[in-house]
C-alpha cells in the first residue's frame, strides 16, 4: 500500500550541484523562486527556462529520475493549465466560442506560461535541493541560514534538530505502517472494498497503533538523547563544518545578477528589440 512513497529522494552523486555548499544552495533557491515567478514576458520566461535547463545540466541527475519527481504533480499541472485556458478573458475576439467554452488568445498564453513556470519551479527546486542535498545537509544549512534569528530568541537549533529527527523517522514509520497493515490484514481486515466511509473507518486499526508507537519512539529517543547529555544547541560543534569556496560565491553572484536582471528583461519587449535594431542600422 505504501511502497510507492519516496520521501527524501536524495540522489547520491558528485556533480557541481552536489558539491555546492548547501547554504549557498538555499540562498540560490530563494533567488531562483523570485526569478521564475517574476519572469512575465516571453523573453524573461526564455531566460528563466534556460537557467532551469542549466541547473538540470549541472546537477548530473538522470532525466528519468527527474521525470519521476514530476509524475505525481501531472494532475495539478494540467488542472492549473486548464483553469488558465478557460477562465482568462482577453480583449480580442475569442478564438473558440462554443456553448459555455470560450477560449481567448490570452488564455492560451497564460496557460502555457503557467505550465512552464510550474514545471520550472518543480524541476529547478528538486535539482537544487531535494535531489542533490542530503536531508542532514539541508537541516544543517537551514540552521545556519536562520541563525541570525537567534538574536530575537527564536530556537533555531531546536527547530533544525526537530526537522532532522522528523526526516530520520520517515522511513522507520513507513516500515512500521507496513507491518501494522500486514498484521491487521492477517486479522481479515479489508482495506480495499466498501464505500468511502467504510474505507476511512478501516484506517483506524492502522492509525491508532501507529500513533501509539510514534509517541513511544519519541519518548525513548528523548530519554536516549538526555542520557547522552543533549542539552540543546549551546556550545555544540559539528562533525562536518560547511565551508563555502570561491566557486560557490561565483555561482551565487551569477544567480543574483540574473535575478536582478530579470526585472530589466521583463521591460524589454520583442517589439522594443526590433525598434532598437532599426535605430542602429
Amino acid at each position: 500500500m505504501l511502497k510507492d512513497v519516496t520521501f527524501g529522494q536524495y540522489y547520491p552523486g558528485n556533480s557541481l550541484l552536489h558539491r555546492t555548499d548547501p547554504r549557498i544552495k538555499l540562498l540560490i533557491l530563494v533567488e531562483y523562486l523570485i526569478l521564475v515567478l517574476v519572469a512575465s514576458t516571453e523573453l524573461a520566461a526564455a531566460v528563466s527556462i534556460m537557467f532551469t535547463v542549466f541547473l538540470i545540466a549541472v546537477s548530473g541527475v538522470k532525466l528519468r529520475i527527474l521525470l519521476k519527481s514530476v509524475k505525481p504533480l501531472i494532475f495539478v499541472l494540467i488542472f492549473t493549465a486548464l483553469i488558465n485556458l478557460f477562465f482568462t478573458t482577453g480583449e480580442s475576439e475569442p478564438l473558440v466560442d462554443w456553448k459555455f467554452i470560450t477560449i481567448y488568445q490570452e488564455g492560451i498564453r497564460s496557460a502555457v506560461m503557467m505550465l512552464l513556470r510550474l514545471l520550472s519551479l518543480v524541476l529547478g527546486s528538486s535539482v537544487l535541493i531535494s535531489l542533490t542535498t542530503s536531508p542532514l545537509e539541508l537541516t544543517d544549512a537551514i540552521e545556519s541560514v536562520l541563525s541570525p534569528l537567534k538574536l530575537i530568541r527564536v530556537p533555531v537549533h531546536e527547530f533544525a534538530m526537530m526537522m532532522s529527527i522528523a526526516l530520520r523517522f520517515i522511513p522507520t514509520l513507513i516500515e512500521e505502517t507496513n507491518k501494522i497493515i500486514s498484521a491487521q490484514k492477517a486479522r481479515c481486515a479489508d482495506f480495499e472494498s466498501g464505500n468511502l466511509l467504510r474505507r476511512v473507518k478501516a484506517l483506524v486499526p492502522i492509525l491508532i497503533p501507529l500513533f501509539v508507537s510514534a509517541v513511544r519512539r519519541a519518548e525513548e529517543l528523548a530519554d536516549a538523547m538526555e542520557c547522552r547529555c543533549y542539552h540543546g544547541g549551546e556550545g555544540r560543534t559539528k562533525l562536518k563544518v560547511m565551508k563555502a569556496c570561491a566557486r560557490d560565491y561565483i555561482f551565487f553572484t551569477f544567480t543574483t545578477l540574473l535575478t536582478v536582471g530579470i526585472f530589466f528583461i521583463n521591460n524589454i519587449t520583442i517589439a522594443g528589440i526590433v525598434e532598437l535594431c532599426r535605430d542602429i542600422f
Binding site: A186, R187, P209
Partner: protein, 286 residues
C-alpha cells in the same frame, strides 16, 4: 500417507527481479506441514523464516510455485483471500503493537467481526480465545494500552486465536517474555491445537522451546530448506546445525560434554525433564 494441512510446492520469492538488486528470499522450496502437528522453524537471521510466514496466508505472493491449504491453492481465488486469512492465522513478531481498540475484548473481536460472524458467536470465541491465552475477565474490560507487555502479547495472540484458524503460524511468539509468561503462552497454544486439531508452525530462536514443544523441525538457511525432520533426527546432527550458525538446546550440549567424560552414555536428551529422569536412572544404577 500423512495428511498435510499446508504444502509448499517449488515456491520461490525473488525481490527486485531483473534489477541488479535481485535477491532470492526463498529459493525453490518444497515442504509439507502435517495436520495437527507442531513444526518448529529455526534458522539464522535472514534465512527466510519470516518470508515463509507471510506466504502462508497470502500476504505475500510467491514469484513462482504453489501453496496448498488442505490441497487447494490459496491463490486460486485471490478475491477470497480473506477466507484464507481466517483459516490460516498469522501472529507476527511483537504482535502487541497491532492493538488498537478501546477494550481488550473489542480488540480480540476485531478478527471474528471481519469474518462477519454473529454477535453471539463472536462473544463465545472471544471468551474462549482469552481463556487459551490466560487473560482474565477483568483484563478483557481494560484498555489494551494499560496492560503490561506480557499481557498485551497475550491479547494480541488471542486476537488471532479468536478467528479459530486451522493453521496457526507464529513468528517468535515468546520473544522477550519472562520464563513463566513464555511457558504459559506456549502451553496455551498447545492446548488450542489439541482442542481444535489445528496445525502449528512456530518460528523461534530458542532451541529449548522448539525441543520442548515441536513434533518436527524445519531448519532454513539462505532461503532454502536445510534440514527437515523429527526433533531427535535434527538435534542428532549437531555439526550440521552449527554450520547453519544454529545451536543445540543447552541441556543437549551438557549431555554431549558429559558423554565426552564418559559420565553418561546417551546424548539424545532435549528436555530438562527427560534429562532429570536419565540422571536419576544413572544414579540408581550405581
Amino acid at each position: 500417507m500423512k495428511n498435510y494441512a499446508l504444502e509448499f510446492k517449488n515456491v520461490s520469492v525473488i525481490y527486485g527481479e531483473g534489477s541488479p538488486f535481485r535477491k532470492a528470499a526463498l529459493n525453490d522450496i518444497t515442504v509439507s506441514f502435517p495436520k495437527g502437528e507442531i513444526t518448529g522453524i529455526i534458522g539464522h537471521t535472514g534465512s527466510g523464516k519470516s518470508t515463509l510466514a507471510s506466504l502462508t496466508n497470502g500476504l505475500l505472493k510467491p514469484t513462482s510455485g504453489e501453496i496448498l491449504l488442505d490441497g487447494e491453492s490459496i491463490w486460486a481465488k485471490p478475491k477470497e483471500m480473506i477466507k484464507i486469512r481466517s483459516r490460516v492465522g498469522l501472529v507476527f513478531q511483537y504482535p502487541e503493537y497491532q492493538l488498537f481498540d478501546e477494550t481488550v475484548e473489542a480488540d480480540i473481536a476485531f478478527g471474528p467481526k471481519n469474518m462477519k460472524l454473529s454477535d453471539e458467536e463472536i462473544k463465545k470465541r472471544v471468551k474462549l480465545a482469552a481463556e487459551f491465552c490466560g487473560l482474565s475477565e477483568k483484563e478483557l474490560k481494560r484498555s489494551p494500552f494499560e496492560l503490561s507487555g506480557g499481557q498485551k502479547r497475550r491479547a494480541a495472540i488471542a486476537g488471532v486465536l479468536a478467528m479459530r484458524p486451522e493453521v496457526l503460524v507464529l513468528d517468535e511468539p515468546a520473544a522477550g517474555l519472562d520464563p513463566k509468561g513464555k511457558e504459559e503462552i506456549l502451553s496455551g497454544l498447545v492446548e488450542y491445537k489439541n482442542t481444535y486439531g489445528a496445525t502449528l508452525l512456530i518460528i523461534s530462536h530458542s532451541m529449548e522451546d522448539i525441543a520442548k514443544y515441536a513434533d518436527e523441525i524445519l531448519v532454513m538457511k539462505d532461503g532454502e530448506i536445510y534440514m527437515h525432520g523429527g526433533v531427535e533426527e535434527i538435534f542428532m546432527q549437531a555439526e550440521k546445525l552449527f554450520d547453519a550458525r544454529l545451536d543445540l538446546p543447552q541441556i543437549t550440549k551438557l549431555f554431549i560434554e558429559l558423554k565426552k567424560r564418559d559420565l553418561v552414555n546417551s546424548t539424545d536428551v532435549y528436555s530438562v525433564g527427560y534429562a532429570k529422569k536419565e540422571i536419576e536412572k544413572l544414579i540408581n544404577a550405581r
